[in-house]
């Protein structure tokens, strides 16, 4: 009986420590994992496909979260402004569609079409990627810079400081971060926080 308890304890410790190392996700300076996820056009997309990119604006977003919806036009604007400068937007829909069916692939396709998404909108099948990044909500942005070591995390957080009113934004966090990277300057605010919808795992 003691042995069994001991085994359980060991198993529990291994499991807990396993989760503990996964859950915090990335911090600034960490190397972000690449992925191979299905896009709305049926193709698989990886960061390594973008040979000419200097980095990426990876955005965890979805159809159903009001905060994500409020930012859709601004996400499109980010891609229009920065894809040509070497920082394309890569949108990832992280929700489990069994929990949130209105985020399914057909719904993703429709939304991308109606809002004129100019960037890939990928489905994190099996919710493998958002936990590795440490993303907990939508929308949440990771700005990555291509380095010799891999795609280095340079910014984590919100798109800007006003989810309600794009016209009243004072601080464009993501734009400031990418502008700084393009200019070879340090990023003033590398981590910000915003309210979002919890990712449905």
């Amino acid at each position: 009986m003691k042995h069994i308890k001991g085994i359980f304890a060991v198993v529990a410790i291994v499991l807990l420590s396993g989760f503990a190392t996964i859950s915090p996700g990335y911090d600034i300076g960490d190397i972000a994992t690449d992925f191979e996820l299905e896009n709305i056009d049926g193709n698989m997309v990886s960061l390594s496909d973008y040979k000419d990119a200097k980095g990426f604006i990876v955005i965890f977003t979805c159809n159903t979260c009001p905060y994500s919806v409020a930012y859709e036009d601004r996400i499109v604007a980010l891609d229009k402004k920065y894809a040509s400068k070497g920082y394309p937007v890569i949108a990832i829909m992280p929700n489990n569609t069994d929990v949130q069916p209105r985020d399914n692939m057909d719904a993703m396709k429709q939304r991308a079409k109606s809002k004129g998404f100019t960037f890939p909108y990928l489905k994190d099948e099996g919710q493998k990627i958002s936990p590795q990044y440490g993303a907990t909500k939508t929308p949440e942005v990771y700005v990555l810079q291509k380095t010799n070591k891999g795609n280095e995390v340079k910014y984590i957080g919100a798109i800007d400081d006003n989810y309600q009113d794009a016209g009243a934004v004072r601080l464009r966090y993501v734009e400031n971060a990418v502008d700084a990277l393009l200019a070879g300057q340090p990023i003033k605010e590398a981590k910000t926080r915003a309210i979002g919808c919890s990712i449905k795992l």
Partner: protein
């Protein structure tokens, strides 16, 4: 075609006027349109704060235990756990436990979504709305570990406070609150 209906309509109207005028005065107040009147929710009380205004509600010098839940009507997991908070508030009202539901609904949804939700669900807990765009300031101020996802819950008394970025079952919530009693 329409022409043929005009006498009919006039007749109907006449009958309507006649019958209406024959009845007692009470029935004349009834709306004639065959449409459900839009409900008025302006009587649902709702205090709206920015973070500076909310701050005093997030600390206490009394012997009460406060359970503060951050939620929104559009947040499905929030709506799912809301009844547990209501039930807890009812069960522990005589044990100095007070509930506060802080809605993060968009201000333009207060009248169309939040107030109707409060009324239809007959919420007994106090509901306030937090309208403060500068979430980068107030999220870490409420708790350094809060990533900003909702639902989120804060439990505190004058001696300690605990923050939870998670959903609760009734049992889980009760277990946490009990730690603050005594």
């Amino acid at each position: 075609m329409d022409f043929y209906f005009y006498p009919m309509r006039t007749l109907c109207l006449l009958v309507l006027i006649l019958t209406a005028s024959c009845k007692d005065s009470n029935s004349q107040n009834k709306p004639i349109v065959d449409k459900e009147p839009t409900e008025d929710y302006s009587d649902v009380p709702l205090e709206v704060y920015d973070f500076e205004g909310l701050k005093p509600l997030l600390k206490t010098s009394t012997d009460k235990v406060y359970v503060v839940n951050f939620w929104a009507t559009w947040c499905a997991p929030c709506i799912k756990e809301l009844p547990y908070f209501e039930a807890l508030g009812a069960a522990y009202s005589d044990r100095n436990v007070e509930l506060l539901l802080v809605s993060l609904d968009f201000p333009k949804k207060y009248e169309s979504h939040l107030k109707p939700f409060i009324k239809k669900n007959n919420l007994k807990s106090k509901v306030v709305a937090l309208d403060d765009n500068d979430s980068n300031t107030w999220i870490p101020a409420i708790d350094p570990d809060w990533t900003g996802a909702i639902p989120a819950t804060l439990i505190f008394n004058k001696n300690k406070r605990q923050f939870y970025e998670q959903t609760f079952t009734y049992e889980e919530l009760e277990t946490e609150v009990k730690q603050f009693l005594n």
